[in-house]
Symmetry: C2
Subunit: 351 residues, 2 copies
C-alpha cells in the first residue's frame, strides 16, 4: 500500500520568520506588546506611526543617549554552556543599559525609540519576545514614565538593537563625572562583577544544567541586568558630586571619573573583598580570582558616585573608598589601598 501523503495538519509547521511578513504586519504584532508606558503617559504626545514621535519635556531640557547591542559582539545567541539568549533577554538588556545611562545623570527616563536590525530568518516569535522583554525591563526596573515612542525595523546579516533614550532632570542639576573632589566619599549602588562572572559561566564548558541556583543568578545578571534605577535621582537629590554608571568595569570607568574630576579614586581593599563574596560560587567552579570580575567587569550597570564628606549616604549606596587629590607628580586615576590599579575592563576596539 502506498504511503499516504502527510496532511498539512500533521506536518510540523516551520516557525514564521520576519521575511514572511511585511513591515506593517510585523509592526502590528509588536505594537500591542509595547503598549506599556503609552496609555495615560503624559510624556507621549504622539506615539508610533508617523514620521517621528513627539514627547513632552516639561522642564525645557532633555537628557539624551544612544546605545547599540550587536549579536556575537555584545551578546551571543548561543553560549558555550548551552544557554540560548532569548528575545526577552535582548529586549530587557536594551532597556536596562539605556535606562542606566539616564539614571547615571541623576535623571528619570521619559521615552525611548528602538531600532531593530534582523536577519530575514529571524523568527517572528523572537521579535515578539524581544518586545515583551523591552516592556518588562522598563516596567520591572522601575521606569514607569518611560514610553516606547517609536522605532525602526530593518534587515541586516546580524541582529542588532539600537535604543535612544530621553530623560528629565525634573528641574534639578545633572550629576556629571567631573564633580568629584578630594575628601569625598566614593560609593556604589547596585552590584559589580556579577555580570562578568555570569559571562564567564556562559563562556565556560560547564553545562547550564550543572549550575547551582546562585551560579545561574550570576548568569541572569549578564542576560538581564538590574541597574539600580531609583539610585540616580536619589543620589542627585542627596547632593552627589559626581556619578556615572559602571558599564566597562570599576577600574576603567573609575579612571574616566578620576580623569574628568582631576582626582584619584582610592578603593578600600577590604570592601572589594566583601563585594567579591557573592562571586565565589562561580569563581570556585571556574578556578578564577573573583577580584578580576570586581575590578574589570562591566554590565551590572551599578552606579559609581561621590558624596561630600560626612554626608549620610542615600539608601542603596555603600562606601567603597574615598576621593583624593593627586600628588603633585602623580596623575589622576584609580588606586586600591593607595597603590595604582591597572586599567582593566572592556574596550570595544583595543585587544
Amino acid at each position: 500500500m502506498p504511503e499516504a501523503a502527510p496532511s498539512d495538519a500533521i506536518l510540523p509547521k516551520a516557525p514564521l520568520t520576519v521575511a514572511e511578513l511585511s513591515e506593517s504586519q510585523l509592526l502590528e504584532r509588536i505594537f500591542p506588546r509595547l503598549h506599556y508606558g503609552q496609555e495615560h503617559n503624559p510624556s507621549l504626545i504622539l506615539g508610533p506611526g508617523d514620521d517621528a514621535a513627539i514627547v513632552a519635556v516639561p522642564d525645557g531640557r532633555t537628557v539624551l543617549s544612544i546605545d547599540t547591542q550587536v549579536a556575537d559582539q555584545d551578546f551571543r545567541l548561543e553560549w558555550s554552556n548551552g544557554y540560548r539568549t532569548t528575545g526577552y533577554d535582548v529586549g530587557w538588556k536594551a532597556a536596562a543599559q539605556n535606562l542606566s545611562d539616564i539614571n547615571a545623570m541623576g535623571a528619570r527616563a521619559t521615552s525611548l525609540v528602538v531600532s531593530l536590525t534582523m536577519p530575514p530568518d529571524t523568527r517572528v516569535a523572537w521579535v515578539e519576545d524581544f518586545a515583551d522583554g523591552l516592556s518588562a525591563g522598563i516596567r520591572e526596573l522601575g521606569a514607569p514614565d518611560c514610553a516606547v515612542a517609536g522605532g525602526d525595523l530593518g534587515r541586516g546579516r546580524e541582529l542588532a538593537v539600537s535604543v535612544a533614550i530621553l530623560g528629565t532632570l525634573d528641574g534639578g542639576s545633572p550629576v556629571l563625572r567631573s564633580g568629584a573632589r578630594a575628601g569625598d566619599i566614593l560609593a556604589l549602588a547596585g552590584t559589580v562583577g556579577r555580570a562578568a562572572a555570569g559571562l564567564a559561566l556562559l563562556e565556560s564548558a560547564v553545562p547550564v544544567e550543572a549550575l547551582t541556583r546562585a551560579q545561574r543568578a550570576l548568569m541572569d545578571t549578564q542576560c538581564r541586568p538590574l541597574p539600580p534605577l531609583a539610585g540616580g535621582p536619589l543620589a542627585r537629590d542627596s547632593g552627589a558630586t559626581a556619578m556615572m554608571d559602571i558599564s566597562d568595569g570599576l577600574v576603567r570607568d573609575g579612571h574616566r571619573m578620576a580623569s574628568a574630576s582631576h582626582a584619584v579614586l582610592n578603593l578600600d581593599a577590604s570592601v572589594l573583598e566583601q563585594l567579591a563574596v557573592p562571586l565565589l560560587p562561580a569563581a570556585e567552579l571556574l578556578g578564577t580570582d573573583p577580584m578580576a570580575w570586581i575590578l574589570g567587569g562591566g554590565e551590572d550597570h551599578g552606579l559609581l558616585a561621590t558624596f561630600p564628606p560626612g554626608l549620610q549616604l542615600p539608601r542603596g549606596f555603600t562606601a567603597i573608598g574615598s576621593v583624593e587629590a593627586p600628588a603633585p607628580t602623580d596623575s589622576t586615576g584609580v588606586k586600591i589601598a593607595g597603590r595604582p590599579a591597572d586599567t582593566v575592563g572592556w574596550d570595544h576596539f583595543a585587544d
Copy 2:
C-alpha cells in the same frame, strides 16, 4: 650581493584600522570633526563625554525619531558599476534621512546622537570621513541648529549606523499624515525617483566612468540625498493639512497617508510625466521605464504634503494631484488619473 632589507620608510604602510586604536583614541579623532553645531549652540547644554548629553527643549515638546542604515542592505560599500561608497556618503546620508523625518513633521532639528557599529578592519580614515560627511550633511542641507550631542562606538561584523534625532516645533503644531481632506491639493517638495534611478545605475554593469554628468548626478542623489529641509516648517506655517517624507516610494508612502487620512490621493498623470523627464538620461541608458522610479523609488526624501484648496503653495512645492473622498464601496489609496495605482516601493522584509 644580497638584497638589502627594505627600510620602514620604503615599505608601504598599511592603513590604520579601528582595531589599532582604543575607543577614546578613536573618539579623539572624531570629536573635532563633529564640532559643527556644538559651539555657540543654545540647544546643547552638555555635549559628548558623560553618560548622556543634555539638550535644551524650549517649547516643552521634542520631536523624536531613530533610523538605521546597514551596509549591503541600505547601501553597498562597492557597487556593480565600480563606485565605492565613501564614509562621507554614509555620514551625509545618515544626516539626510534623519533630518528628513524631523522636516516631515514640520519641525526643525535641534540635535542628534549617532551610534556607529564597525568591523575591526574598518579604516580610521573611513571613520573620519564619515564624521566629516555627517557634519557637512547637517550644515549644507540647512540644519544649522542641529548639534551632534553624543554617540556610541561599537564593533560588529557589518557596518551599521543608527542616528536618533530631536527637533522642535517652535510652538507650532505638527503636520501629521492623517490630516488630508477631500478637496485638498496634493503637492511635492524636492525630487522623487532620482535616488532610485541612481541606484539602478549603481547596480548596473555600465562603469561609472562611462556615465554622463546628468547620470552621475542621479547616482549622487542615491549616495548623498538632498531633502528639502526648508520645506517642512514652511509647509506647516502655510497651513499644510498632512505631510510625510517619501522614503519608500510615492505610491507606497502615499498609501500610508491615504490610509491615515481615510482619503484617496489622485495623482495627475501629466505631472508625473514631467517629473520623469530628469530621469530619462538613466532610463534610456538602462532601457527602463522611468515611471517605475517615480512611483516606486524612495530615498530622495522629498516631502509629500496636502494643502487646503485655493491656497497658494509655499515656495518649493508643486501640485501633483488632489485629495478625494473614497467612494462608498472603495478603499482608501492612491490613484493615477482616477485609476488605482499598484502598491510599489520598498518594504524591508516582504519580497
